[in-house]
């Protein structure tokens, strides 16, 4: 390819600040006269607030105190519905729900003060699991505890059962997962009647926070300004909750007239903020003896927590991905997101897809076993092919060859030889068993269905006084490489050096709304907008005559400066336009669910120690087709990081619940992989440029979260001969079914 910047791996834009320790995260920022805020939270899962007492021993007159009555306008965190209060008003629906806010100049005084606020409750019955919620014996939300449901139908499933040689059923479950970004949530707010409200924060989506604060405060849009600080990891966990923290800081700032910082510590962040939705998925599949999938009925249930937040969209993605990368002539998928009295579950890398893909990829191995067929063979016989349609009826128009993808992954993993070798070795009695397993999957890039059309994103480019090109987007950097990728795209489109492009500040008063930084949409969708804005900028300069057809970066700077001198400003904008011929039916969940899918086959090799049931992942091959790889180092880093999170979700990361409250809200007790728990992660790309993405890019960020859990559990089944269908899978969940062959000896 002839590109000069795209496809290369220039140094991360903000990298130098990060390695020198001068990158400014929210807790690194301190404003003159700033005071500190803290949150009083509910100690019960569900109840009526009878009263709030302030115990003696605290100088209460020194504290700024905010309750729901101090909220100027709407007491809600604006997302899809309007049910999520900013501060509980009379009723609490989950443990750790914010009730009251305190602020004081001495941050060390706050924990004691929080503990000295005694909230009296009349406890109400609560539900904590999908099973309890769906029984509807206790209604905790709406009339039936259901936040959202979908029914997706293709073909005639009921007819498929009759044709089937075999019907295979299975039930699969996944647990909550904590994002565990290394930087906790935090925000600083400043308010004055003259300047309006400004909130700095660790966040993914500046305009989400903006929208929410406008509703909360009733201030005009232009009087609310949101600025993203350097953000130390997010993974979806800073999509919705920063609106809450930002709102809290704002309320305290408005009441006190002082800058207010709220910085969560780890325990509060883990206990109070969102997690991945726990799920339960049931499969019933009609299949022929030679392994042709005839039809399926899939039933998905998500635990959404106490408020609806993003559950509807998470459920939507779970639903669309539930069939996996296979051709289903007939399928019916019913899905529901249920309310429970846990803190709301939210966005987390993959956004519902990891849950339903775990189920289908475990289920495929079950079907293969039931047929006496190898798992790769069953997949081979059912992979989606060009011209066929997905479960939503979306036709595959790209030159998709999943069989080839799988064969390459299996070859990279030395799958066939290893499988035979492990079968041989496992037959000998030993305390270590080895296994190898695979998962094949897909991940839709960008917002679902009409989502991108509704977002109506706008990106812009301008030039600085020095004549440097500047990317203006609300897409944020939190480690994935947004800054770098978008600057690469802009540089490529402008025909100038990467170093000559910079990012505008992630500040709602400066940049247009490019939509949220979620859904693997930044490279593909926003990148395309930046590409076209850059083209616009270039055309303007060329048309002005200040730049000739052939130019260097220095020529560009000069031309830009001259343009500014002559015309005052140089700016180019680009707004999202849906590709033609794309149809989506929101009611029937039919049509083009995503502009593009990324495709992947992952292979995991494991050792199971029969003495402890400890599972070690020994090798991991991750092969994917993500369109054009814009930056190989960043792309590889995304895959490796996602695989590590997937390994964590599969084998280590268990949220221990007690009546809706996370019990292990410490890094010591919520276990993520260390350097010594990660196998070699071998990343491979197939590149098939996607026409509607920036320089052929599709989405990449979420994809690697989907494959590890099923690949690993499939490998464990191969190693032990025991089928496990739930993650996280800890030794404690395995040992009862793993027999240690210890001779029985009668006592003498």
């Amino acid at each position: 390819m002839q590109e000069k910047v795209v496809g290369k791996a220039p140094i991360r834009k903000e990298g130098l600040g990060k390695v020198c320790g001068r990158a400014q995260y929210i807790d690194d920022l301190s404003l003159p006269g700033m005071i500190y805020g803290a949150t009083v939270r509910s100690s019960v899962p569900r109840g009526r607030i009878l009263g709030i007492d302030f115990e003696p021993g605290i100088p209460w007159d020194e504290f700024v105190i905010v309750t729901a009555t101090d909220i100027p306008c709407a007491n809600e965190i604006a997302l899809i519905n309007h049910d999520w209060p900013c501060l509980a008003d009379g009723i609490v629906n989950h443990p750790e729900e914010p009730i009251l806010l305190l602020a004081h100049p001495d941050r060390h005084l706050l924990p004691k003060a929080v503990a000295a606020v005694r909230v009296r409750y009349e406890e109400l019955p609560a539900v904590f699991t999908i099973e309890e919620s769906e029984r509807v014996e206790t209604v905790v939300w709406g009339t039936d505890n259901v936040f959202k449901s979908f029914l997706l139908e293709k073909g005639d499933v009921d007819a498929a059962w009759a044709e089937a040689d075999l019907i295979v059923e299975g039930e699969y479950a996944t647990g909550a997962q904590e994002h565990l970004y290394i930087e906790n949530n935090g925000a600083i707010a400043v308010y004055s009647a003259e300047e309006g409200l400004t909130v700095w924060g660790s966040l993914q989506c500046p305009f989400y926070v903006h929208k929410s604060l406008v509703k909360l405060t009733g201030l005009p849009e232009e009087r609310v300004r949101i600025v993203q600080m350097e953000t130390g990891g997010a993974f979806g966990g800073k999509e919705d909750y920063p609106s809450m923290i930002g709102a809290h800081a704002a309320l305290l700032a408005m009441k006190s007239g002082k800058p207010v910082k709220i910085a969560y510590d780890r325990a509060e962040d883990m206990a109070a903020t969102t997690k991945r939705h726990p799920s339960r998925t049931r499969h019933r599949t009609a299949v022929t003896r030679d392994g042709k999938l005839l039809g399926a009925e899939i039933e998905i249930a998500l635990d959404g927590g106490a408020y609806s937040t993003l559950s509807a969209t998470v459920l939507s993605r779970a639903t669309i991905h539930a069939g996996g990368p296979y051709f289903w002539p007939n399928i019916r998928i019913r899905s529901r997101a249920y309310a429970t009295n846990c803190p709301p579950h939210g966005a987390f890398r993959g956004f519902g897809a990891p849950q339903s893909l775990f189920a289908i990829e475990r289920h495929m191995d079950h079907i293969a076993e039931a047929l006496g067929m190898l798992p790769e063979e069953l997949r081979r016989r059912n992979f989606l092919k060009p011209g066929q349609t997905t479960t939503t009826g979306q036709e595959i128009r790209e030159a998709l060859d999943l069989e080839k993808l799988m064969e390459r992954a299996l070859a990279e993993a030395d799958y066939y030889d290893k499988r035979a070798q492990f079968d041989r070795e496992n037959a000998a009695a030993g305390m270590k068993r080895k296994g190898i397993g695979l998962a094949s999957f897909l991940h839709g890039s960008g917002f679902t269905g009409s989502g991108e059309r509704y977002l109506n994103s706008l990106a812009a480019m301008d030039v600085t006084a020095e004549g440097r090109a500047r990317v203006l987007v609300s897409s944020t950097e939190f480690g994935q490489g947004t800054n770098t990728i978008l600057c690469q795209i802009a540089a490529e489109a402008l025909g100038i050096d990467y170093e000559a492009v910079e990012m505008g500040p992630p500040d709602t008063s400066v940049v247009p709304n490019t939509g949220p930084t979620v859904a693997s949409r930044t490279s593909m969708v926003v990148g395309k907008l930046v590409q076209s804005a850059a083209h616009g900028l270039k055309q303007t300069l060329l048309a002005s005559g200040l730049l000739s057809d052939r130019y260097t970066t220095a020529d560009f700077h000069r031309a830009a400066r001259e343009y500014l001198a002559q015309y005052g400003a140089l700016r180019s904008e680009s707004r999202y336009q849906a590709p033609p011929g794309v149809h989506w039916d929101d009611e029937h969940y039919h049509g083009e669910a995503y502009a593009a899918y990324a495709w992947a086959v992952y292979v995991a090799e494991v050792t199971v120690d029969l003495a402890t049931c400890a599972v070690t992942v020994d090798d991991f091959v991750a092969l994917q087709e993500v369109g054009r790889v814009l930056n190989p180092v960043l792309a590889t880093g995304q895959i490796e990081g996602g695989v590590a999170q997937g390994i964590g979700w599969a084998l280590y990361e268990k949220v221990v619940w007690n009546r809706g409250r996370m019990q292990n809200n410490q890094m010591t007790n919520y276990i993520i992989p260390t350097t010594q728990d990660i196998p070699p992660i071998r990343v491979f790309f197939e590149e098939q440029p996607f026409g509607d993405g920036a320089y052929g890019a599709k989405g990449i960020g979420e994809l690697p979260m989907d494959g590890p859990a099923p690949a690993i559990l499939n490998a464990i089944a191969h190693a032990t001969g025991v089928q496990f269908d739930a993650v996280p899978l800890l030794p404690e969940d395995m040992f009862r079914r793993i027999a240690v062959r210890e001779p029985e000896v009668v006592a003498t």
């Binding site: 140094i11 990060k18 780890r266 260390t674 350097t675």
Partner: protein, 160 residues
Amino acid sequence: MNPQRYRLRVNGDVRTVETHGMARLLDVLRFDLRLTGTKEGCGEGECGACSVLMNGDLVNSCLVPVAQAEGTTIETVEGLGNDERLHAVQRAFLECGGAQCGMCTPGMLVATAHLLKKNPQPDLEAIREGLNGNLCRCTGYTRIFEAVERAVSLAGEERA
């Protein structure tokens, strides 16, 4: 209790702070000395984001009461190198994609510098062990291992 005066040599400079003996070294660095490069991730010695060198030894600064740091020599990420003159590990992390969100990075860099001082030619196992107290949620560690290996060769080039 009244605050007391504590003296530390931080990144080469003698600094005096007036604070409480149980104040965490981490807070002394971040709040009193405004060296915010050192990060807090967990506050319980688990994540290593607050790693600094104390008398040359890697420690979690969140677990050091300043009274125990009295008279010691402290090195933080800010002391490793700067924009003009990067330490080999900083260069290597930049080049290999070892830093993503950047939050574990300062601690990871300090831990790497410590590892390479103790073992200038670590193999992969030694790298894994040397960094096992520094949690990263972005990279899956693979870019970091590569960066450490690159740092070894960069350090070799610098010596040559």
